[in-house]
């Protein structure tokens, strides 16, 4: 925490020192109507800012990228001066594709930042959006300045309504006097009055353009009753319609100032007391009149939400770094909630359905968006057209936050990596970018966006946290509707939101050290990025055989009847000595590089109390049983990990170091919360028994844990939820945002592993990006995407990044609906295998509602299948454990070099046959079809069985 503040301070100082006011000629472009044929034309209207620095050279400005900006809209362009390639922050063709009158859509496309906000009193259902063009640059509220590294934009989004020097209510006489003194003729004045004011004069009632020269007595009486003052002082009222429109007010103000400048006071005074500054007030606007006015409600102050913050755009030699310092965010926090901020929603956007070609067919760009959905997925532009699946595909990073009441990610794979990217292959050269969210990632969500005419990918960041509750929950009556209430936090994120956009360039330009414009290139880029910053390290020494993760269940509480009295007993599922036997048996079958994860071996078995103190289950062999097992593991060289869940508490105990009140996560309405799972039968989220524990408490509680296992030779801990779950803590006394929670989790993992020293190895679940650097193994890693209908294919991006550096496995194979399919996915991603097992009494699991989801864990039954699957897998993968994945492609008919046919002779056109190549050119052809296929791809045709694979050597086949 301290470090962060220091870093932030430093950053502010640095940037501040380097700030140079920018002198730029005003752009003459009319953004709403000027059209451009291409990016080059657009670039020609922009202002050159700077050239990047080449990190390998000493001088300044000798890099290959150049930054341009449009100072009236904030649009940016990055030009590669070697290739001429131009990357725009916003599409250049807005005036082409949208009709002249559609200024709203044009403005959206011209914006660099969106803010989503709602008025606190209206609740989150009244969410609305403001755009940096429509609501900032259109009002000239954006300030662009040049910094040493790029530009800085101070956004003030949302019209800043000022006070206009227009009288709201004024005595008629005063107004005539003021105007005539300024030299206006009475006709002119009359016109001005009638156009803009309602007149309250018993002699000439004139309301809303209707002159009643002979006002009826009743009307006259009514007016006098309502405004008795008009008998003494006839007066005029500003028309509400004029008041409501900033534009009308501005016009009127200009007219009045022009008519008689003398009558306007100036807003400020200089040292000598001489008025200076803007003219704000009409001198003779009389307050008494105003106070008397009964219809003042017509002039209810319109709301002008306004959000101010600063964004730095820094040019690097390989792209653009965008940094929004959240501590600069300013707005009226008592009235509004700034829910989230979207940054560069149209960066490098591609065209969708924009032009007609000479044959009258609609055109679109070729390429795809990459999003880190599960193992990674690509959204091909042509599929968006073909499937008519335009719209948005959004998910937050790192899974659900259970501190919130509403959970949405049902049945989906988590986004574990803070990255996204885009490839556009339609021009003469391939281009694209790969974005890494470097800071604020725990608050980020990533969107693939395809709406009218433009396709893009972007990141949004939560700012103020809010949640919705049902008040009706308090009533026990069966009300079928509920009162929802939105609660907004008092604590705000103060760190940075930073995205690094790295541009990808077609390799035909022969750049060295550049990455291919494809998801494979992106994966390599990210792998190198992580390796360079020390987060990943390539595995150097490997065991002969691949690792096999075996999760084993300890004991479970069972109700039995003894002499007609019910008693709860611990029933053993797997004892310590069972594990030794299992290892022996598996070794005989050639499986010895095993890692046993012991779940439910202490504090009451599977439903254990919080691990601040550990008592090993007697029925499983107790502490001695554990020692024997650890000794055997040492002797026979296999791993034993203890599953300890610090993130959730399943049962509480008195006089324990853990207590909910001290350590549990609190929601915004100050309650405890539990993990929730999507429940298929009701199709809703249901609570589980695990109370979420605040990451703020991890380190303290961990100390109690280490004390209590002193003397045992435990080397590995399976702290699984650390890699998969990230919960905020809205405790009023100790607020932890999700980003804080992430930082604290990392701190905890650092401490537990004590990098450099020998402490614990950690095994985590899922492998959210922040946890992987400290994990020795990852379980339940996403090996497939969520398969959104809007998306195209899953790609093994996860495997391409992590295989060769981290040992990871997908879900337990025996818990998968389709073992064959998941085995293929494991090979495609380079994941090892993982099983969940119990040796005895497995039917007891059925009676425990928390564990009856484990419908098939019997080791005795699964033994053969484990041996079979492991042998297949190990033979394929054992010599590739330390090899990176080098290439990945879909083999289908569309590819000229290859042909895939079913056995009945039909050609396939789908993406169900893939090639994955490991370092050294050895690889596999995997067939996800439910039928056999014949693949012809540089060499003899190969028959690949249904849901099977064949080894394939790129070198031997001679393909690139």
């Amino acid at each position: 925490m301290k470090n962060r503040i220091l870093a932030a301070l430093l950053a502010v100082l640095l940037v501040g020192a380097l700030l140079v006011p920018m002198a730029v000629g005003a752009s003459t472009v009319d953004h709403m109507s000027d059209t451009f044929a291409n990016a080059e034309e657009k670039l020609a209207t922009m202002t050159y800012i700077m050239t990047s620095d080449d990190p390998d050279k000493e001088g300044e400005g000798d890099g290959i990228l150049q930054l341009y900006v449009d100072n009236k809209s904030g649009e940016m362009a990055i030009k590669n001066k070697v290739t001429g390639e131009i990357t725009l922050s916003n599409p250049y063709n807005v005036s082409d594709v949208f009709p002249a009158t559609n200024t709203a859509d044009k403005g959206y496309r011209l914006s660099q930042v969106y803010v989503n906000y709602f008025k606190i009193t209206s609740g989150k259902d009244a969410m609305s959006t403001l755009y940096s063009y429509n609501d900032c640059f259109a009002y000239n509220q954006g300030k662009i300045s040049k910094t040493s590294e790029g530009i800085r934009v101070d956004y003030s989004i949302g019209e800043e309504r000022r006070d206009y020097a227009v009288p709201l209510k004024i005595a008629l006489e005063d107004f005539y006097k003021a105007m005539s003194e300024g030299g206006q003729s009475s006709t002119q004045i009359e016109k001005l009055v009638k156009e803009n004011f309602n007149i309250y004069d018993p002699d000439q009632v004139y309301i809303e353009n209707k002159l009643l020269s002979n006002p009826s007595l009743t009307l006259r009486q009514e007016m006098i009753n309502e405004h008795p003052i008009c008998l003494e002082t006839p007066f005029i009222f500003l028309k509400p319609g004029i008041y409501a429109s900033s534009y009308s007010m501005e016009v009127l103000e200009a007219k009045l100032i022009a008519a008689n400048p003398e009558y306007f006071v100036l807003s400020e005074k200089d040292e000598d007391g001489k008025p200076i500054g803007e003219k704000t007030q009409f001198e003779i606007d009389s307050e008494e009149l105003w106070d008397e006015a009964k219809d003042r409600e017509n002039y209810v102050e319109k709301e002008y939400p306004n959000f101010k913050f600063t964004v730095d755009y820094k040019l690097a030699n390989d792209g653009l770094i965008v940094n929004l310092d959240a501590s600069t965010v300013e707005y009226d926090k008592s009235l509004y909630c700034l829910a989230n901020i979207t940054i560069l929603p149209y960066f490098a956007s591609a065209a969708l359905d924009s032009d007609l070609d000479e044959n009258g067919n609609k055109q679109y760009d070729n390429g795809y968006i990459f999003i880190p959905d599960g193992s990674g997925t690509i959204v091909r532009f042509e599929d968006l057209i073909a499937k008519k699946q335009t719209g948005k595909l959004t998910s937050s990073l790192y899974g659900s936050d259970y501190a919130y009441y509403q959970i949405t990610n049902k049945n989906t794979e988590p986004y574990t990596m803070p990255v996204f990217g885009m490839v556009n292959t339609s021009g003469e050269y391939d281009k694209g970018y790969f974005a890494i969210i470097e800071d604020g990632d725990a608050l980020a969500s990533i969107t693939a966006n395809a709406e009218r005419y433009h396709i893009s990918a972007y990141a949004s960041f939560n700012y103020a946290e809010y949640d919705t509750y049902d008040l009706a929950d308090a009533f026990s009556g069966g009300a079928s509707s509920s009162t929802k209430i939105t609660v907004v936090t008092d604590n705000y994120y103060e760190g940075d939101y930073r995205i690094y956009y790295k541009l990808l360039t077609d390799d035909k330009y022969g750049f060295e050290n550049t990455y291919d414009t494809s998801y494979v290139g992106m994966a390599k880029l990210y792998r190198d990025y992580l390796t360079e910053n020390g987060s990943l390290k390539k595995i150097t020494d490997v065991e002969e055989n691949t690792k096999l993760f075996l999760e084993v269940f300890g004991s479970i509480k069972v109700k039995e009847q003894m002499f007609s009295f019910p008693v709860t007993v611990d029933k053993e599922l797997t004892t310590f000595s069972d594990i030794i036997e299992m290892q022996e048996e598996l070794s005989k079958a050639g499986i010895y590089n095993n890692s046993f994860i012991l779940k439910g071996f202490y504090n009451g078995g599977l439903a254990s109390t919080y691990p601040t103190e550990i008592k090993w289950q007697k029925v499983l062999g107790g502490k001695d049983g554990l020692s024997d097992l650890l000794d055997d593991a040492d002797k026979n060289n296999y791993d034993v990990a203890i599953d300890v869940d610090f993130s959730y508490s399943y049962a509480t105990k008195w006089f324990s170091d853990y207590s909910n009140s001290k350590h549990a996560v609190k929601t915004l309405d100050d309650r405890y919360t539990t993990k929730r799972v999507y429940y298929a039968a009701t199709q809703t989220f249901e609570r589980t028994s695990g109370v979420a524990v605040s990451s703020a408490s991890f380190i303290t509680l961990f100390e109690s844990f280490t004390d209590s296992i002193e003397g045992t030779k435990i080397k590995t801990l399976a702290t699984r939820a650390l890699g998969s779950d990230l919960n905020s803590d809205f405790d009023v006394d100790n607020y932890f945002s999700r980003e804080d929670s992430k930082d604290e989790t990392v701190e905890f993992m650092k401490l537990a592993t004590k990098l450099g020293e020998e402490r614990f190895d950690l095994i985590v679940d899922t492998g959210n990006a922040y946890s992987v650097p400290y994990a020795s193994g990852v379980l339940s890693a996403p090996l497939d995407s969520s398969k959104y209908i809007k998306a195209s294919e899953s790609v093994p991006f996860y495997g391409m990044v992590y295989h060769g550096s981290v040992e990871f496995a997908g879900n337990a194979l025996n818990m998968e609906g389709d073992e064959d399919y998941m085995l293929l996915k494991a090979i495609e991603n380079g994941a090892t295998l993982y099983y969940t097992l119990a040796k005895q009494n497995v039917e007891e699991l059925k009676f425990d509602s928390d564990y009856n989801k484990y419908y098939s864990v019997s080791y005795d039954f699964l033994k053969n299948s484990i041996v079979e699957n492991y042998t297949i897998y190990n033979n394929a993968m054992k010599d590739k454990q330390d090899k990176y994945i080098e290439d990945h492609r879909f083999l289908n008919d569309e590819d000229e070099d290859c042909a895939v046919t079913y056995l009945d002779g039909t050609k396939t056109n789908n993406s169900l046959v893939v090639l994955v190549v490991y370092e050294g050119g050895e690889g596999f052809i995997l067939n996800y079809n439910s039928q056999d296929v014949i693949v012809e791809f540089g060499g003899e045709p190969i028959v690949v069985p249904a849901l099977g694979f064949e080894e394939y050597s790129v070198k031997e086949a001679g393909v690139k």
Partner: protein, 759 residues
């Protein structure tokens, strides 16, 4: 009744809370229900096949310059794997081959009169793949006809389907004015009979000859007339006894694949009746049967021996409270929109509300439920008209390479296809190994090969130890072939695992018989010893009582307690002495009360498996409450009334008298609880009977006790007893009212406070 339903719903909700499911790679969880309505996760039976739904683009309609599918209404597969999509709004049938590649479009055809013809809003198709009636039948809804095409299997594109015959509107006298012939679904059985559902017809399914002549209506259940109605109608000369049909609107038909002459029909129920449907769902009453299996005579021959009637979702809540956390979740009974028949007598239905597929076997056992609403591949898009429109099994032979020989052979493939109407696409699900193993077991079971079935069920259990049907079948098989006691014990354990109390009882009796046979001598000795002990105890009590009667002065606690034995057999004289001679005391009364609480607690926790298969939820508090609340209500209420009615007993007297009257309860409750350990099945009446005897005995004692204590005449005593009971009710009512008011107040205040603090 409503309250019970609510409690039941709450119980379901409670059970569900405890059963979370883990995320799997398939975008839905597969599950089943246990006998007691608990949701149990199951291995996936079907998983999405491929990477994306089959739609106009993947079929290749777009590339052919064709029009994309619009509002398709039906999907059907033939035995060669060809799939027929009724593209209703485009007035055509789109045919794709087994790989879902374009095969043909049937749109314009030359009809029997040699004239170019087209469809007008076709709604469904049916195919017969072999035999005399082979062909493709299309329900041409607004043209009021069914058109048959010949299938040329090997041909793609033009000529694949050639017009053969039109079945014009048959002559039908619809009784209701809603009746008009608008065919929306049809099947043809192996005898060529045609079954047609006409839109909006309430008289049932129309049966036509193979030439399209009307035969009759079938499938509308007759109105059952109550006895009273029958009498009125017989007596009243102006009415005629009439058995009319219940208006029944069918929505879809499917031919039973196994025998080829039964017809599955789905019925549209009125959504307003959901409340009664819900009750019927849980109580297994079969009046509510959204799917029927009809024979040619129109009789529903569906077997419904499963744990719940085959009607889709089981754990449903009506008008579930919509909270911020569960917005959009479906409520109420399933809306069954289509049915399809698979191999081995297995059949599946599609719930349009939940986009879930429920699969049952021939006997009506629920096998698995899968599917979900959503935007992922394998889920069905939710739209205004629900999620999902039609479902079909696709069973055909696929070319595969034999692993050993390398030769190309035929391999049977089973898939399920769901039509996502709003997305105009097909979602294909492929069978997993688990479903295959399950199908094998069912196949053996259907064929009566029980030994083989046992092996298969064992395999099913190893893959899914949550599957109750398998436990039951295994248990039955083992019991059938039981050779010794161990086998019986094993069978018993299987039934216990499935909470199957009926079969449990059968096996338990066998085991009991075995034990009795083996240890008969010991049993006899045991009973004799027991009787001896009982006689001794009573004898001893009698002796103590006799001695105490004459002793006078202060009595010991032992004497006061043993006096209970005297009172329960000699109430008149016992109560007289109790009051006048001070034979009992407050401390003894309290001890009796405690003994009763203990006995009830024992009853709560100690009943045999047959009575409480899921274990006990009784706590000391809950059991104490069942004893103490009525006890004190009685004492207080009685005291209130008798004070008014010149009763002679003080509060203390009433308390003591009532406590002594409780004495038969603990004795008999303990006896009955012990008996629950050995009595099962129909014998379970005996413990209940004993408890009833205890209560009657107690009531008798109380009445006598009150009469003696207050020195009332019989008539006055009865009046006060009745008044006391009424008083108990009133006190209860006031207390409940008070508590409700307080709780409403508290929740009101807390809501206001929380709202104020959040705003």
């Amino acid at each position: 009744m409503k309250k019970i339903a609510k409690i039941a719903a709450f119980m379901f909700a409670f059970i569900m809370l405890l059963a979370p499911c883990a995320m799997a790679a398939t975008p839905y969880d597969t599950y089943t229900y246990s006998i007691n309505g608990e949701v149990l996760k199951s291995p996936d039976a079907y998983v999405p096949d491929g990477v994306a739904p089959v739609n106009s683009a993947t079929i290749g309609l777009d590339n052919l310059g064709g029009v994309a599918m619009d509002n398709p209404t039906d999907v059907e597969a033939d035995d060669f794997g060809n799939v027929y999509i009724t593209d209703s709004n485009n007035n055509r049938i789109v045919v794709v081959d087994s790989n879902y590649n374009f095969k043909a479009v049937i749109q314009n055809f030359v009809n029997g009169d040699g004239v170019e013809d087209t469809f007008n809003t076709p709604t469904s198709t049916f195919t017969v793949s072999e035999g005399n009636y082979k062909g493709l039948y299309v329900c041409d809804k607004l043209n009021k006809r069914i058109i048959k095409f010949t299938i040329n299997e090997e041909v793609y594109g033009e000529g694949a389907y050639v017009f053969e015959k039109t079945f014009k509107e048959p002559q039908i006298n619809f009784s209701s004015d809603t009746g008009a012939y608008t065919p929306i679904s049809c099947v043809v059985d192996k005898h060529g009979r045609m079954y047609v559902v006409s839109d909006g017809t309430t008289e049932g399914i129309i049966v036509l000859t193979n030439e399209g002549e009307f035969i009759n209506f079938i499938g509308a259940p007759k109105v059952s007339v109550s006895a009273l109605q029958a009498i009125i109608q017989t007596v009243n000369p102006w009415t005629t006894l009439e058995f009319t049909n219940v208006p029944t609107t069918y929505s879809n038909l499917e031919l039973d694949r196994t025998y080829g002459d039964f017809v599955y029909g789905t019925i549209m129920y009125n959504a307003d009746d959901e409340n009664s449907q819900l009750t019927q769902l849980t109580s297994k009453v079969t009046d509510y049967s959204p799917v029927k299996l009809l024979n040619a005579g129109g009789t529903d021959i569906m077997q419904r021996t499963g744990f719940f009637a085959p009607a889709g979702e089981v754990a449903v809540e009506l008008n579930a409270k919509v909270t911020a956390a569960n917005e959009g979740a479906p409520s109420g009974v399933s809306k069954i929109i289509d049915v399809t028949s698979g191999p081995d007598g297995v059949w599946s239905i599609l719930d349009n509300k939940r986009a879930k597929i429920y699969t049952y076997d021939r006997l009506g056992n629920l096998l698995y439920i899968f599917g979900d609403v959503g935007e992922q591949f394998g889920q069905v898009t939710k739209a205004d008209n629900g999620a999902g429109q039609a479902i079909t099994y696709q069973i055909y032979n696929q070319k595969a390479m034999d692993e050993k020989t390398g030769a190309v052979v035929d391999k049977e493939t089973t898939k399920i296809i769901v039509l996502d109407r709003s997305n105009a696409s097909l979602i294909v699900y492929r069978q997993t190994e688990y479903a295959q193993v399950l199908a094998t077991a069912i196949g053996y079971q259907n064929d009566g090969e029980f030994d083989k079935a046992t092996g298969a069920w064992e395999d099913v259990l190893a893959r899914n130890n949550n599957f109750d049907t398998a436990y039951v079948e295994m248990g039955k098989a083992i019991y059938r072939n039981a050779k010794d006691r161990d086998d019986l014990d094993t069978a018993l354990a299987y039934f216990e695992n499935a909470y199957d109390t009926e079969n449990y009882a059968t096996v338990f009796k066998a085991i009991r018989a075995d034990i009795m046979e083996r240890y008969f001598i010991f049993l006899v000795i045991g009973i004799i010893v027991l009787l001896f002990v009982v006689v001794k105890v009573f004898g001893y009590a009698g002796k103590v009582n006799k001695a105490a009667a004459t002793k006078g002065g202060k009595r010991s606690l032992k004497e006061e307690l043993t006096y209970g034995f005297h009172i329960i057999f000699h109430p008149f004289d016992g109560y007289w002495d109790l009051k006048k001679e001070k034979r009992g005391s407050m401390r003894a009364a309290i001890i009796f009360l405690i003994i009763t609480v203990v006995a009830f607690y024992y009853q709560g926790i100690g009943q045999g498996y047959y009575y409480k298969p899921q274990g006990s939820t009784a706590t000391v508090i809950s059991q104490a409450a069942t004893v103490l609340i009525p006890f004190f209500l009685w004492v207080i209420s009685n005291w209130c009334f008798t004070t008014l009615f010149d009763g002679e007993g003080s509060f203390k007297d009433i308390f003591i008298a009532t406590a002594y009257a409780l004495f038969p309860l603990p004795i008999l409750v303990i006896v009955s609880t012990l008996l629950t350990q050995v009595l099962v099945g129909t014998e379970s009446q005996i413990p209940t009977l004993i408890i009833s005897v205890a209560y009657i005995w107690m009531a008798f004692l109380i009445i006598i006790g009150m009469q003696v204590t207050h020195d009332y005449s019989m008539g006055k005593n009865i009046v006060t007893v009745v008044a006391t009971i009424a008083g108990m009710v009133i006190i209860m009512f006031i207390v409940v009212l008070f508590i409700t008011l307080i709780s409403k107040m508290t929740s009101f205040v807390s809501t206001i406070t929380s709202e104020l603090s959040y705003r």
